[in-house]
Subunit: 282 residues, 2 copies
């Protein structure tokens, strides 16, 4: 373990996933807030860019010279009918176009869970593979990298049936590395005994994004009770060391859904806290 | 796939984990309830046997000729200090003695999560391995099988840092198969893309218990919102086929924590529903 890796992170590598203050601010205010707090990266969600207008969002982000570290999100491939899956394919193509407009470093994929009424995870995972293969034909043609984000197993039914880094690596193996990689979100993957092994297997070329927050020891809600870095049990600095040992030098994107704590606070305080905790705990 | 495996399960293989009606009935009433409803297996918890007295519990279970399909529970190996871990070791030895008194088929192990104040999962997992090795010296000498129960990754911090069948298999490889195996609980493992592969790896000799309930698509609570078989998204019959293909012929143990639904109902209705759903959905 080198000396370097016990050091604080580069403050310039902090990025804000806009979900972190989405209850308090609209996207235009979030963009201004990042600039005001000297947070140099941003990762907006589609509902927010649609509300502001994708071109206008891109213009404002460019004006502040923020890096778009990811665009949230594409995916949601499975569907109960072929028509539904074609609809998903079309929507994913639009997501790629928007990511290009925003000059995003990657489009993040939450792959989707079981179709309505289904109990067949294997089938859903097959639909993910097929939908992703279709999407890659387009995203590769326009050079927009796709980042598969494994979601915590507690979301296997309703959000994503890709639940481990190993599954994401398997998909990259099967579909090819060109324009395809992984978003490593610690909230979803911190528990995994194979975390280090699968980050190593991914290697620098597949590590497209690194998302941080914390797992609260007494989590109260499956979706909206994520913790600020340092308030929970994740060894964030150790995980950063693990991805950096593979050569990752990208941003550290804070993404906190927190209905009863951080979403109720002054968003300027939230951003300031993100900056402090990034240096202290990441 | 043989014809056999699409058939209903043997009603005589239903077992009741006593947590399923723990809010309504004390253990003596649960034992009588199982007998009255002709449920032939039971799996009691330590707090319940302590309240009734272990010898008295054993006597009543014997009187009704119920099979004790597992005893809940040993484990909780990690500790912040050596003294705490020795305390855990002593308690586990007592749990083995109680399981013997009850003539349990196995002692189920929930291995424990992070010690207070720790963020070091690797260390906790090492303490699990060491504590289990110590426990095996005794359990093997008295021939009480220990069943490692991988818990869902959402419990990695506070209940169990063994979160996949693969980890449990790895522990069996490392510590030896004699008197050591796995409790496969579908609530904890249904999401796992390696479920079938790791059940196959376990094989008949390691498959010591099979626990069933359902994962509700809109789960409201991390601990106390398990579903009755058929009300959720788990392909329970398919999973039973998977364990039976390895030669498993043991009980199917229903374990439902449900603060806002099943724990509020008439326990006779709960047991009757377990019987019906066992035949219809498992």
């Amino acid at each position: 373990m080198s000396e370097h890796h016990n050091q604080q992170p580069d403050a310039n590598l902090l990025s804000l996933n806009t979900a972190t203050v989405r209850q308090q601010w609209t996207l235009d205010k979030i963009i201004d807030g990042c600039a005001r707090h000297d947070i140099r990266g941003i990762s907006p969600w589609r509902d927010q860019t649609h509300a502001l207008g994708v071109k206008e969002a891109a213009r404002r982000i460019r004006a502040h010279q923020l890096t778009v570290t990811g665009y949230c999100r594409g995916g949601m491939f499975p569907g109960a009918t072929a028509q539904q899956r074609r609809h998903n394919d079309d929507d994913n193509r639009r997501a790629v176009d928007e990511a290009l407009e925003l000059n995003a470093q990657c489009l993040v994929l939450v792959v989707g869970g079981l179709p309505e009424g289904s109990k067949d995870l294997r089938q859903a995972r097959g639909q993910v593979r097929d939908g992703l293969a279709t999407m890659l034909e387009y995203s590769r043609s326009v050079s927009m990298p796709l980042a598969i984000e494994p979601l915590h197993p507690m979301y296997a039914a309703d959000r994503a049936c890709v639940n481990t880094l190993e599954q994401a690596n398997d998909l990259c193996d099967e579909l090819g590395d060109d324009g395809l990689g992984i978003a490593v979100d610690l909230y979803h993957t911190w528990w995994d005994a194979k975390f280090a092994q699968q980050v190593e297997r991914a290697g620098k070329s597949r590590l497209l994004a690194f998302h941080i927050c914390d797992w609260l020891a007494s989590t109260q809600d499956l979706l909206l009770d994520r913790g600020m870095m340092g308030d929970g049990v994740i060894d964030i600095r150790g995980a950063r060391r693990t991805v950096e040992e593979q050569g990752y030098r990208g941003f550290h994107e804070v993404e906190i859904f927190s209905a009863k704590n951080w979403w109720l606070r002054d968003p300027d305080e939230v951003l300031e806290t993100c900056k402090q905790r990034h240096l202290a705990c990441c």
